[in-house]
Symmetry: D2
Subunit: 140 residues, 4 copies
Amino acid sequence: MSLQMDAAELMEFLDDIFPQVRGDFEVDDLSANEISMRLCVQEKHLRPGGTVSGPSMFALADCAAYAMVLARIGREALAVTTNCSIDFMRKPSAGADLIGTCKLLKLGRSLAVCDILIHSVDQDAPVARANMTYSIPPKC
Amino acid sequence: MSLQMDAAELMEFLDDIFPQVRGDFEVDDLSANEISMRLCVQEKHLRPGGTVSGPSMFALADCAAYAMVLARIGREALAVTTNCSIDFMRKPSAGADLIGTCKLLKLGRSLAVCDILIHSVDQDAPVARANMTYSIPPKC
Amino acid sequence: MSLQMDAAELMEFLDDIFPQVRGDFEVDDLSANEISMRLCVQEKHLRPGGTVSGPSMFALADCAAYAMVLARIGREALAVTTNCSIDFMRKPSAGADLIGTCKLLKLGRSLAVCDILIHSVDQDAPVARANMTYSIPPKC
Amino acid sequence: MSLQMDAAELMEFLDDIFPQVRGDFEVDDLSANEISMRLCVQEKHLRPGGTVSGPSMFALADCAAYAMVLARIGREALAVTTNCSIDFMRKPSAGADLIGTCKLLKLGRSLAVCDILIHSVDQDAPVARANMTYSIPPKC
């Protein structure tokens, strides 16, 4: 039930393996069953109409859930997204970061399940919700 | 932001329109944005292997979300389920009721979105999670 | 890539392990990657308003996918539903059977994924679609 | 049941409203109920390990469904993604384009539902499947 990496180690690891999104995400908070991941919203994440794109919100949910699972199973382990269902409920603000609050609902031997709620930092009501399933391959 | 029906009115209304599941469900708690719905687990809800069937858990999630939406929009209104995604995470106990805790995440003019977490009353860890979308037809 | 059971063996096996739904489902057609499962619509499957209930459609999708997976991996194997997403698109006819046409999209060592399209036998347009994931535990 | 735009008009329209992804997508084929959309896989779509990222596959599914709906309802109309469920089934090839084959299952007054199957052009088995729901606001 304990973390294998703290927030700083987790960010360093993510920057290392996903160099193409370096600077996009930040871990705001991390505990044994919950992580807050920030999408530092930039021009490339926007859609015309002054809002954040759907793929950017999907990427935030995916990154938050992946980081949560890795924080628990450790950096030498593998985990691949197998399923996501996402509901887009309100229009995110174009000029505000997004926070994905991810709860770890199950961490089994082969499957992990997370729930993610996404807010614009300047709005109370959530802009999206998602659930993610990760498959954890057996260690060799 | 206020309820159109209290828990007793809601149960009476559900018994009235869904006579075929009368006795299956009970409202344990109701507030403006959350409802706790109980599935009174009976023989017909079970699967061999000592567990509750998937369709029974789906029915609980659907009933909880439907009741939550109706409690807010009132009995004269219509709402139909348009989408559900459900994750089955652990085996429910055969001899214990299930509680579906449903949060209303969005109540728009035409769509409502709910998150539901399902527990066996004798287990701490959730057995399933679901999200439901309801379409609310315009009033004539 | 071959079937471990034919349609008759599959029905016999399902009747054996799920006696409580005996008579509800029939295998109309079965090939290596597709199954047609019929829900023999009865009073207990209906909702007021002359339609089939959501949980009954969920049960049809689940049964079709489960049968498809079992037909391929064999009766001694285990498979449990881990995820389903279902869209309810049109109102099924109350007086017509439902057919679930299920395609096996992936049969891996630990996960199987199916797509299911559901029709009322008297309507051309589909009434619902679903996708199901099954977890296949390692053999002992 | 007829198209409001042909493939060339559709691409021109998409390039116009989504300039930030210009060059990423191409319409390979379009008919009244189906579209084939190509993701021209580039460095920015890749993940370490020689594969295409999840958010890139999500973006392809979203773009295919959006284009399908727009092709039918016309460019003056609005449509916003409200729900997506996606299953990642196999590892896409890093050096091959992805094709999303999207079927329009429902085009109602307020909701449209699509199913999308995604293939790497050099693999027979699908790498992902998705379903998308779009909300179509009433015309003013």
